[in-house]
């Protein structure tokens, strides 16, 4: 497990010093995170990495996971899709069931926590307990809020405004609210299995295991099998490129326990792939981080052709590895990529195919995009910046002024 000091060679000594200065002001405070899944998906991933570092800095950082059955997660999945702007009507009975499950989970809350840090909509109704418990409450939204369906937004807004503060990942997700809103972009951990440096032997070994030919260009999209990630669109873009350039496509990802649609999407992907031996559809089990890291490092181009996106951490992961990335201009992706400078932003399958061809034919330009992208991630999207933002968030709950002398 990494210690905060381990990041000094990457983020700089002064960055670690500043984190310690902030953490001193929060020593002894208990912060309890609550979300809906312990494995899979970006939220669980970042909590697994961040909590030990917050503890290392002297905070009591805890994590609780609410329990729900298939029916509950079916409802929250619909809610998730509605927030992404997809038509997914949720009836009154389902909303009542959602609230009931939240109430049943109220015992997950640590009564002595100073700050309750609730992630995403699934456990949002736990805030009902604020009236009796008091404490400071934060709602952290990790998902794309650009075009939420009105009925679901109205339902959630009623809960959001009971919190002390709401946190969003991108400016476009901000809405007029009666509570304070803070921008905190997610981050990647440069020392995690998913992002750490790997030897060529290891990368080659993973490619051999999956029968990927390193002698021909490799285009990769890493994401769970969700239609919002448009894996079918990726295959169509690849087919357009393949008419002119010999290449391979890797679609790799896993599934989260709160994502019942994954298998259905996987079937559609296999259908679209039509047994093309150069398309590698890899449904990876949890704990495949080194394999994902290796696949990204073995790639010539990394794609993230999402239709909707929360932040799109896979983009930051690929850029950190110095890879040229072609991604949709949705959610938090434009924050990570300045078009034609630190990557390529596209809006269609055809545009994606066009840029794949351009970058495969101009490897020097592709390399420059990758190295600029790595710099941008280093300064703005590593876990040390994220920890700093969380420490400031916790401190800000106790301060009212715009300029605070600590």
């Amino acid at each position: 497990m990494s210690r905060i000091r381990d990041y000094a060679p990457i983020a700089g000594e002064s960055t670690i010093e500043e984190l310690s200065l902030l953490a001193e002001r929060l020593k002894g405070k208990t912060i309890q995170n609550i979300n809906s899944t312990a494995v899979g998906g970006g939220v669980a991933e970042i909590l697994i990495r961040m909590l030990p570092l917050l503890r290392d800095l002297g905070l009591n950082a805890a994590w609780g996971v609410i329990k729900g059955n298939e029916k509950f997660f079916h409802i929250t999945k619909k809610m998730h899709n509605a927030l992404h702007g997809v038509d997914a009507p949720i009836d009154r009975d389902e909303l009542d069931y959602f609230i009931d499950v939240n109430r049943q989970n109220a015992e997950e809350i640590m009564a002595d926590a100073d700050i309750l840090f609730i992630h995403d909509p699934q456990p949002i109704a736990l805030v009902e307990q604020k009236d009796t418990l008091g404490r400071k409450w934060i709602w952290r939204c990790h998902i794309d809020f650009t075009n939420p369906k009105k009925d679901v937004w109205d339902f959630l807004k009623n809960y959001i405004e009971r919190f002390d503060c709401a946190v969003f990942s991108a400016p476009a997700f901000s809405r007029p609210l009666t509570i304070r809103q803070v921008l905190i972009s997610p981050s990647i951990d440069p020392l995690s299995d998913k992002n750490k440096e790997l030897s060529d032997d290891l990368v080659n070994g993973v490619c051999e295991r999956f029968h990927i030919d390193r002698g021909r260009p490799v285009i990769t999209q890493i994401s769970r099998f969700d239609y919002l990630k448009d894996p079918v669109g990726v295959i169509r873009a690849y087919k357009m490129v393949k008419q002119h350039i010999e290449c391979q496509l890797v679609l790799a990802g896993g599934g989260a326990t709160d994502d019942p649609e994954g298998m259905k999407v996987l079937e559609q992907v296999h259908h679209e792939a039509e047994n093309d031996p150069d398309i590698f559809v890899l449904f990876l089990p949890p704990g495949s981080d080194v394999e994902i890291n290796a696949l990204q490092r073995a790639s010539d181009i990394v794609l993230q052709k999402s239709l909707r996106e929360g932040f799109g951490l896979t983009v930051a992961e690929a850029l950190w590895k110095g890879k040229p990335v072609i991604a949709s201009a949705v959610g938090g992706i434009p924050l990570q990529i300045a078009h034609k400078y630190s990557g390529i932003l596209t809006h269609s399958i055809e545009g994606t195919a066009y840029w794949i061809k351009q970058l495969l034919n101009e490897p020097e330009y592709a390399k420059k995009l990758g190295s600029n992208g790595r710099e941008h991630i280093k300064y703005n999207y590593l876990i040390t910046r994220h920890i700093r933002d969380y420490l400031l968030l916790f401190l800000s709950l106790y301060e009212q002024k715009d300029i605070v002398s600590l």
């Binding site: 960055t15 500043e18 650009t146 921008l183 715009d402 300029i403 600590l406």
Partner: protein, 216 residues
Amino acid sequence: MTTTFRFLTRLNQVELLGRQAKNIPELLEGLRLVPGTSIYYHTHRFLQQHHYLSPEPPNDFAFWVTNALGLDTLGEELASVDTVSFHTIRDLRTRYLEILESYSQGRKARNGDCPEGQEFHFMSCRTFILPTPYEARNLKEFRDILEKISINSIYFHIFEARLRLERGANDFSKWLEGIGETQLAREISRLDPYTITLEGLRRDLIQRVSRYVENS
């Protein structure tokens, strides 16, 4: 004036105001209504997020007007506002309002919307100021600390102290003046820190101070 310079650092929390603009009239309205901290944030964000880039992108207003609305001339006018010549956020806001009002009232004004998804989102910031363990009692110590101190500390003493805290001059020049290094203080005051990267500014400061250390 104390002869010891205590280095402070500052860290910003970014706040979202829930207000957006999709055209010039909405940008103008937002600029009139948002708190001063929002004007400060949008005119200084680029310095911090892209401090490794040279040349740096201009302020957020100029960048948006140019890239989302395609108004190059207006964008250039907004980008060329000489931030270093303003001593208060109030005056800085007035300057941006004058430019936009003048544009809006002109015969060639284009008030159309930006493409969907490229709206301007007003943000703001809350600033936390912290003491660092570093103190300088003379020029040499000052130079040595400049080499290792967080870039956020340099940012605070040069930008934040002067404009946001309305101290009139940057903290370094004030201290240097106090210890009799009037010439060096003036040199640093005359710098336009908005046209170099923060790391470039650090290098420049170290070079200037080093010259005086060698001559002392």
